[in-house]
């Protein structure tokens, strides 16, 4: 999805940095990156360092950074919507109207990125960008330390103890889908979108899984 965006903007002093939050490592991201025939940067982030630095809690999230290196839009949902929650899970289908609404939201977001690159539109002034930043709490900072240790222990042959730290990370930072889903995936590929995931989504109630960007 990003290659098309990049194609239309690559003569504009513009770069996409697509970071795979992938604790199982590069091989688990390879097929997706190769399929995308990506000409932009595709990086592998085994320890979710980018999520930690920027306070990200889900994928896909994006940050817009201007040519001077300043954040002009803090982390926000990058083109995805909550329409998947309306899916018929037995047939795995989504009504046409919801498919269309989902596509429209994605197009609107990509158009906004293009607009920003070409005209500067949608970049937030500093006070509004600061206001929209995530707030890192001591519990979140501690969760990131547990997550890092959990991933390290898992990749060094100590899954049982690693899982204790991953569970603690999720308990301390329950809003992070990244932490919860990565831990589920490390336990078993596929588990991140299994029954427990859907139950967790359902328990959001009226709250969004993908909060829409305020463009």
């Amino acid at each position: 999805m990003w290659q098309q965006l990049f194609d239309s903007l690559k003569s504009e002093n513009f770069m996409i940095v697509a970071v795979a939050e992938e604790s199982r490592g590069a091989e688990h991201a390879r097929q997706w990156i190769e399929q995308a025939k990506a000409e932009y940067w595709c990086l592998i982030d085994q320890q979710h360092r980018v999520a930690d630095l920027y306070g990200m809690v889900n994928v896909p999230q994006a940050v817009w950074i201007d040519a001077a290196g300043h954040i002009v839009r803090p982390p926000e949902t990058a083109g995805s919507t909550d329409h998947f929650r309306l899916m018929d899970r037995t047939t795995r289908t989504l009504a046409t109207e919801h498919q269309e609404a989902r596509q429209a939201a994605r197009t609107e977001y990509l158009d906004a990125v293009r607009d920003w690159v070409l005209t500067g539109h949608h970049a937030l002034p500093a006070d509004r960008a600061q206001h929209a930043l995530p707030r890192i709490t001591p519990d979140i900072a501690l969760a990131q330390a547990h997550f890092r240790l959990g991933v390290w222990l898992r990749s060094h042959g100590n899954a049982a103890e690693g899982d204790v730290h991953l569970a603690e990370a999720s308990r301390l930072h329950p809003d992070s889908w990244n932490i919860w889903r990565q831990a589920a995936d490390l336990d078993e590929v596929g588990k991140a979108s299994g029954e427990a995931f859907w139950q967790r989504v359902q328990s959001l109630g009226d709250r969004p899984y993908y909060p829409p960007p305020k463009l």
Partner: protein
């Protein structure tokens, strides 16, 4: 040997009694230098509590927590994470300068965000899971 995971990578150290380290290991793991006046970095020195320094070694877990940073470790005490506290993360974001990082691509080649200065950057995350 024990392994310390710090902000930028992994450091092997000879730890004793938890995370008591020599001045040399402490400097490699934290970037702070053990001096008579405390742990020092450039012009700044943070005094250590009396029970956190002994015979040219210091309790680095205690020091790290004193700075307001999280410290976690495995039950064997062989692997330690010297994390980054909430205040430091929030301060870095509040300045709106995009936090820098270096990560590898599929071929293992490292790329650093700040090398893209002069370009607008769309930094996005995704995952296979």
């Amino acid at each position: 040997m024990s392994t310390i995971l710090n902000e930028t990578g992994e450091v092997a150290v000879a730890a004793s009694d938890g995370l008591w380290l020599s001045a040399d290991d402490a400097a490699r793991a934290t970037g702070w230098i053990l001096k008579p006046e405390g742990m020092c970095q450039a012009d700044l020195c943070v005094p250590l509590p009396k029970d956190a320094v002994r015979d040219d070694r210091a309790d680095i877990a205690a020091f790290w927590r004193l700075l307001g940073n999280p410290v976690v470790h495995d039950t064997a005490g062989e692997t330690w994470v010297l994390g980054t506290g909430a205040d430091q993360r929030n301060a870095a974001l509040a300045g709106l300068m995009a936090p820098d990082f270096t990560l590898p691509d599929l071929a293992g080649v490292p790329h650093t965000l700040s090398a893209l200065r002069g370009n607008k950057v769309f930094l996005c995350t995704w995952a296979s899971w």
